[in-house]
């Protein structure tokens, strides 16, 4: 009888458990028919290595997370009005999430707030936006990047030196943060004077002219730092043309090919390089998590790297400096 008893108990347990185990099976099956996540990525510009690299990283993540990625950008980099229009259009399409690289910190805030009304999570990337509705910020730690540049420049010029800064847009969040990081670091050294700060408004030509002026006004300048790709190209050209190459220690930002050439020729001593590929990748993966309703960290910083002649040909840096196979 005890055999029958134990048998019956075992059977009963099996019968009770069966629905449990079988309920797992459809869950597994769901994955196959899993809906694609639709993510709109609105950036500042559709051209240039920087944004193309972001796009490349985003596409790698899109493939990995089964995402349909719409890559959108206005014609010109600082056309925030067009960006607002893109944002409105995107909201009306009701994607699962929006990634926004805001051209203007304040102007895009309202549009971002509106997306939350339709329950569309927004991940801000590269540049922050004035909205509390943003799920997270994926991007370069600009303050730290500024500090990195300052640290290396101080190493190169010594603790008694005059330094000039070529920044891009005064009031632009990234520019301000980089500048702030830089200034905060050099403020530790009483012997270091920041003699001039110029803003080129993301214009290579203006940067070139401003740098020439600066070099003319302050011929005893020991160090120069340019805080964006455009200002670096302009400043680099000015330094080279005026024959200051190697005499003035120069730290550049980002990695346009022109700068690498200057780096190899030792006109530029080092450059702070962001990782746009990772930015794109992380932004999409964060957006996927946000679309699923997961809680995210307030900030997901991506590292910057200080590249100099010594490490520019390290395999891991080559891919960072030259993201495209041409």
């Amino acid at each position: 009888m005890s055999l029958v008893h134990s048998l019956s108990k075992g059977l009963l347990i099996m019968i009770l458990l069966l629905p449990l185990t079988s309920s797992c099976a459809p869950a597994g099956n769901l994955q196959k028919g899993e809906q694609m996540t639709v993510i709109d990525m609105i950036v500042k510009m559709d051209r240039g290595d920087y944004w193309s690299t972001i796009k490349m990283g985003a596409e790698v993540a899109a493939k990995e997370y089964n995402v349909k990625l719409n890559f959108l950008a206005p014609e010109n980099e600082n056309d925030y009005k067009e960006q607002i229009v893109l944002m409105e259009q995107s909201i009306s399409r009701r994607p699962d999430a929006i990634i926004l690289a805001a051209s203007d910190y304040e102007a895009l805030g309202q549009a971002t707030d509106r997306s939350s009304y339709y329950d569309i999570p927004v991940v801000s990337m590269d540049s922050e936006v004035a909205s509390t509705k943003v799920q997270t910020f994926v991007g370069t730690n600009n303050y730290e990047a500024g500090q990195k540049a300052a640290e290396r420049l101080v190493e190169l010029t010594g603790k008694q030196s005059d330094i000039g800064i070529v920044n891009f847009v005064k009031g632009a969040r990234n520019a301000d943060q980089r500048e702030e990081g830089f200034l905060d670091y050099v403020a530790r050294f009483s012997g270091i004077r920041v003699v001039d700060i110029q803003y080129c408004g993301s214009d290579e030509e203006l940067a070139y002219r401003l740098t020439r002026n600066m070099l003319t006004n302050y011929p005893s300048l020991d160090g120069l730092v340019s805080l964006s790709a455009e200002s670096s190209i302009g400043a680099g050209r000015a330094v080279e043309e005026m024959g200051y190459g190697g005499k003035i220690m120069m730290i550049a930002f980002d990695n346009p090919p022109e700068m690498l050439e200057l780096l190899q020729e030792e006109t530029v001593q080092a450059m702070v390089v962001q990782n746009p590929f990772n930015n794109g990748y992380m932004a999409v993966s964060a957006a996927v998590k946000a679309a699923r309703g997961e809680k995210l960290e307030d900030k997901i910083p991506t590292d910057t790297k200080l590249i100099d002649l010594e490490n520019m040909l390290w395999p891991e840096n080559q891919k960072l400096l030259f993201p495209f196979v041409k």
Binding site: I15, Y281, P315
Partner: protein, 596 residues
């Protein structure tokens, strides 16, 4: 604790010996085991086939990529060898004008060729096409292609893709082929490193085009694990991704299942022979082994459906079997409580039907027996009442007293005394203190007094004779059984006869039995009359009112059916009634009995 109690209560209420439960459990167990076993076997068989198929598919894709790459790299290798031959042939490399043309031709044959250059062992450029100025700070002697050519002088070296920073031109991703060669410089034989840079684009595009499901991809590493191509190269360098290269390096070709990052991935490896690179196909199991999952899902739902069907059929069948038995049980319970009236009708299995039929038969038999008992009890009571009446016998008393009055008027005193004496004795025995059973002696005495009175009443119209055999007198008998028969004989036999009548009453032992015989020589009876008499339809309208049938009933009630009356009669010949009774002796001598 409470839950435990509830569970144990549940199991206790679950009668494992119930037929329904037994049938259900055993058949469910068997079918379930069978279904599970078959499912598992099927699943294993099919999923294995599906897996093999997936591996085969992957292998073919990677094989294709490998073939393309080998062709490409092989072609480049040929060009390198051609270049090397021409370098060898040239008598004075730095100044050979013809060489420029030849190298230029070679360079132009393949647009993928970025540069061909010969360097001294110290890293100085000897000759190169296209002719471009060198950059500063190239650190070319520290570069992999240069170092490995120096370290492995015999063989052609392939580097992973890298940025070419030698010449003042665009920075390009190239794969370098390099080898240490000997060349002639102004008739002197020197050693140098020949390097040929191939644009990486073709290989990159080739690798990018490979589709291994939605998420799957292909990557290429060189023989020591440097990444040649990887779609997520940047993520790996940034530490955001990890590719488990260790097992890959152990394979030249083949495939295995990798679970290092928690997800099942099918890894397929092929080696590009000229370069020693490994093409690694990474496919995600959940994409490629969908058959397995689908099959699993199907089998699961099949199992579930089968279980539900089995359960339903089982419950139905076992209910069909067990329900009639339970109904039967309930009916029996009703009978147990005393309700014999209900008929049990149970349909169902043949055996159960038979059982209920038999049970019904039994019930009917019990009912009949009970009815019979009730009937018998009623009859007994009735005959007892009859006997009580017979004891008093008012009609007879009235007739006798009438005769006595007449005799007294006529002054026949002697007859009056005899009649009164007999009457008194008659009634005394009739009553017998309420006893039903009396000695034969008393019964004969009773009938003798009756006959005395009747002979006086009928003025000696008949004679009588009473005889008892030895041993019968102290036997016991029901009282008042002879008198009604004698009365019958007088009224139906003697009275109607013209001749002088005769009535004989005899007690005798016949075998184990006691027999009374009452004989008369009256008119006798036809068979028809005898039947009527015994069935009680013919009643003597006599004094006593206790008919022959009453005597018969009393005897059979008291002693059993085999005892009773037997008539023999012929018309005009007389009638003989034989009463058969069991022989029961009284234990007491007659005297004592009288006293009591």
């Amino acid at each position: 604790m409470k839950r435990m109690q509830a569970v144990s209560r549940f199991f206790r209420s679950f009668h494992v010996r119930k037929i329904q439960v037994l049938i259900s459990l055993s058949s469910i167990t068997i079918t379930l085991l069978t279904v599970v076993l078959v499912s598992v076997l099927l699943f294993n068989r099919f999923s294995k086939a599906a897996e093999e198929n997936a591996y085969l598919n992957l292998g073919q894709i990677i094989e294709q990529v490998n073939a393309n790459l080998e062709l490409y790299v092989g072609g480049m290798q040929d060009i390198f060898e051609l270049t090397q031959e021409q370098m060898n042939a040239a008598s004075d490399i730095p100044d050979d004008q013809k060489l420029d043309e030849q190298l230029g031709t070679i360079l132009n044959t393949r647009k993928d060729l970025v540069s061909i250059a010969l360097f001294t062992k110290e890293g100085n450029l000897v000759r190169g096409v296209p002719e471009l100025p060198m950059r500063q700070n190239t650190k070319l002697t520290e570069q992999l292609w240069f170092e490995s050519a120096i370290q492995n002088p015999k063989s052609l070296q392939f580097t992973p893709p890298h940025i070419q920073n030698l010449f003042k031109s665009d920075y390009r991703w190239v794969v370098s082929m390099s080898k240490m060669i000997t060349y002639r410089d102004d008739s002197r034989v020197k050693q140098g490193v020949l390097a040929m840079d191939i644009n990486f684009r073709t290989i990159d595009e080739l690798s990018q085009r490979v589709e291994l499901g939605k998420k799957g991809y292909v990557y290429i590493i060189d023989s020591v694990g440097n990444i040649v191509y990887h779609p997520q190269q940047q993520l790996i360098y940034a530490g955001l991704k990890y590719e488990n290269l260790e097992p890959v390096l152990n394979y030249a070709y083949g495939s295995y299942l990798d679970e290092s990052d928690g997800e099942q991935r099918l890894i397929t490896i092929q080696t590009v022979k000229p370069a020693g690179w490994k093409i690694v196909g990474v496919a995600y199991a959940d994409e490629f082994l969908t058959t397995k999952k689908e099959l699993g899902g199907f089998l699961y739902s099949f199992l579930l459906a089968a279980l539900v069907v089995i359960l339903i059929i089982n419950l139905y069948v076992s209910a069909r079997i067990a329900q009639p038995i339970r109904r039967l049980e309930r009916s029996v319970q009703m009978v147990e409580k005393g309700d014999f009236g209900t008929n049990v009708y149970v349909s169902g299995a043949y055996e159960v039907e038979q059982l209920s039929k038999r049970f019904n038969l039994m019930l009917r038999r019990i009912r009949e027996l009970m009815d019979q008992i009730i009937e018998e009890q009623e009859a007994k009571r009735k005959s007892e009442l009859d006997v009580l009446q017979a004891q008093i016998n008012p009609h007879f008393l009235y007739n006798t007293l009438n005769s006595v009055t007449r005799m007294a008027e006529l002054g026949r005193n002697e007859e009056v005394v005899t009649t009164i004496t007999s009457l008194s004795r008659f009634f005394r025995i009739s009553l017998s203190k309420g006893k039903l059973i009396i000695p034969v002696e008393d019964e004969l005495e009773h009938v003798r007094h009756y006959l005395i009175i009747q002979t006086i009443r009928f003025k000696n119209k008949f004679r009588y004779e009473i005889q008892a055999e030895e041993g019968t007198l102290n036997a016991l008998t029901l009282k008042l059984i002879l008198q009604p028969l004698v009365e019958n004989a007088i009224h139906h036999g003697i009275e109607k006869s013209a001749e002088e009548g005769f009535i004989g009453v005899y007690a005798r032992v016949s075998g184990d039995h006691l027999e009374f015989v009452i004989k008369d020589n009256g008119v006798g009876m036809t068979q028809d009359m005898m039947d009527k008499l015994l069935s009680g339809r013919l009643r003597s309208e006599s004094d006593s009112g206790v008919g022959v049938i009453n005597v018969q009933e009393r005897i059979s009630l008291y002693y059993g059916k085999e005892f009773g009356l037997h008539y023999e009669s012929e018309p005009d010949e007389g009638t003989t009634v034989t009463i058969k009774l069991p022989m029961v002796k009284t234990d007491f001598p007659k005297k004592e009995r009288d006293k009591s």
